[in-house]
Point group: C2
Chain length 445, copies 2
Amino acid sequence: MATINRNYKRLAAGYLFPEIGRRTDEWEKKTGLKAMKLGIGNTTEPMSEIITDTLAAASYALAEGNGFKLKNPELETEDILLRDAKLDNYTGYGAEQGNEFLREQLVKFYLNIGVKLDSTEFFVSDGAKCDSGNIQSIFGLENIVAVQDPAYPVYVDTNVIAGRAGLFDNETGQYDGLVYMLCNEENGFMPSVPKDYTSEVIDGMGISERKGVDMIYLCSPNNPTSAVMTKDKIQEFVDYARENKAVIIFDSAYAAFIKDDNLPRSIYEIPGAKECAIEISSFSKYAGFTGVRAGWSIVPKDLVVEGTVPGEVHGLWNRRQCTFFNGASNIVQAGAIAALSNEGQKACMKQVNFYMDNAKIIREGLNEVGLKTFGGDNAPYIWMQTPNKMDSWNFFDKLLEETRVVGTPGSGFGPSGQGYFRLSAFGHRENVEQAVQSIKDNLRL
Amino acid sequence: MATINRNYKRLAAGYLFPEIGRRTDEWEKKTGLKAMKLGIGNTTEPMSEIITDTLAAASYALAEGNGFKLKNPELETEDILLRDAKLDNYTGYGAEQGNEFLREQLVKFYLNIGVKLDSTEFFVSDGAKCDSGNIQSIFGLENIVAVQDPAYPVYVDTNVIAGRAGLFDNETGQYDGLVYMLCNEENGFMPSVPKDYTSEVIDGMGISERKGVDMIYLCSPNNPTSAVMTKDKIQEFVDYARENKAVIIFDSAYAAFIKDDNLPRSIYEIPGAKECAIEISSFSKYAGFTGVRAGWSIVPKDLVVEGTVPGEVHGLWNRRQCTFFNGASNIVQAGAIAALSNEGQKACMKQVNFYMDNAKIIREGLNEVGLKTFGGDNAPYIWMQTPNKMDSWNFFDKLLEETRVVGTPGSGFGPSGQGYFRLSAFGHRENVEQAVQSIKDNLRL
């Protein structure tokens, strides 16, 4: 008699983005119209030649006798790069941790922002969503998890499924046992360390009380609010984590979008972070790899949690990846190397800037009709207040019906997202402009 | 105070294949010699042009205005195929479950062997290792897990990490709480349903006894023994599972290597299997995708376990994939479509046959010097008895030192693998021949 993992039954709703897709499809079928999608943070712009040419060359190299040869001879310097990466002929299984040459390029990428890491501390993956979801599995089920509210749903959902949460409370919109770090207009969407949070521990000695949290998820620049944590703010979390042997899981998937050089692009810019923080990041938004799939996680060897010595947590993640994962695609890793080359970085930053120009268009358009917005300056999302703090899903329906624009209900990111709405800056310029115009012309306020 | 998942501490050894790599590297450094590798089941032969050309075309299509265009115009029919798959321009996030056109090709692929499935029952992934590891997570921790002994280590290790096993017993080489289905020479390496296995249940009513197992991992053709389960044998398992609402996790990653048409290539060839079995399979060995990364899982909608209705387990796996995974790479999925095209299937089967010829060379070479072998006729592994049933790791060292050949110690697959050794038929012809010659010339028996 096999039984299911009953934690799945605790999940309050389907995964957010498929649900948006379902509602949009239904509306399109009903009306025969085409929706304008600013919902999912899905890259839309064709990739630069340097990356696609490298992906193609790595593909051809898998057949007999092709070697690694770029179509565009002006990109020939990359040829050397790929030979060093040993992707110039057929390869089977690679290292579970990723191509060594790619890991070295990631080391250099971080040196650009003054962060020194060892290549063995990097784990290349098929994307930050997978790493964000799987990282919790190397920690015990007894840990108290703190998440920003609102936050990317994967942090909450994967911990609910693992069994670190209790029942969902329809009243509060919160799961029992999870700690929600409020991010709202009043605190500039900046979380505070929940050091005074108390929970009950039941053991052989009876019931006792304990203070604080153990696993802290931070996302900066934040999805969905676009808020970027300052160095001082992150320092508070690092100090707390070191003092209490807590672990921070820091999602920096949107780091490339930060314009303000005073804001940190990696948690390792903050002193002491290597002892307490894991960083997860991605090629998805930086290089348009949402469909191509590549990301990375960093587990520093200095990292310690309760009862471990340096290197031990790093070893656990290594064991997890070796047991459940077989490395990212060799072709995709070649493309990731191209995205980190000098030419590649320039091309990727051009796209990043393009999306940020979209963000400006959306923000200014919404403000023109009197809608209140946040962010969109250091991250590709506009976080807006719904008119009269209307229910987020109701506003989803209203926006779709009146303007044909699809966005993401803020409540999908947590209870504090209620009355907010996320618009994504990922889109073709023409579509973004049309959507903004449609909101300006048709939204009944 | 974050704590680790202490189940990791129960793991008896590092993941098998990195351990072999480590020992081989060490030996190569020490001696300055190059080892001949028949250890890991890692494909070695360059891919056929139809697949690499498709992978490259899908890569170029991600840049502006390239469309989907194959280099070789003789393959132009594939052009149509790829347009139907909607991979002819830039794409971002795809469906977590995989490209719909690819899923339809998988349906057709199974129809070739008389198995009718719905495309929504297929989930495309980045490989069978990931699916084999993750599938257990949708089931409860209270389930009793049965594995073949010997078996692919991922089934055991992932269940140990999840918490379905007790301590490792050095004496028996078994984990407490796991059920080992013996596969040895006497039973033709065919497992039997452990229906009489009893375990203790402790609950509010005290201690009671219960019979049988809940989650059964089967791998056919088997890695490492090469044994293929007959239809009658699988029927026994299906009957048991249906009667007891147990679930079978059937790994058919080596199905393409079956020569004997009387042997089943999918568990769904067995009546009733859709009600109790999940199948996991892969492009890795069939199409040389070990480095490219693609596989699939099938969770039939008819499947039920204790307390569920049809569709519910399917829905759980769907939720798992949507929450922890973001779909396989769009480029890789294009390659998978090519591998399932008529031309692609021919090319892949040519490689399968090439590896099976290697298997014959290895088997016959070993037999010539009096070594006893099994398999290698319907699967690309030779399972051999070590001389005088010598310890598997000792034989690993002996073989490496005397002949420079690397193989895989049978004991790495479970206690019944002790005294056995696996040689892989994946290798360049010349290398395989050299390795066999070296064994014939240099192994001191």
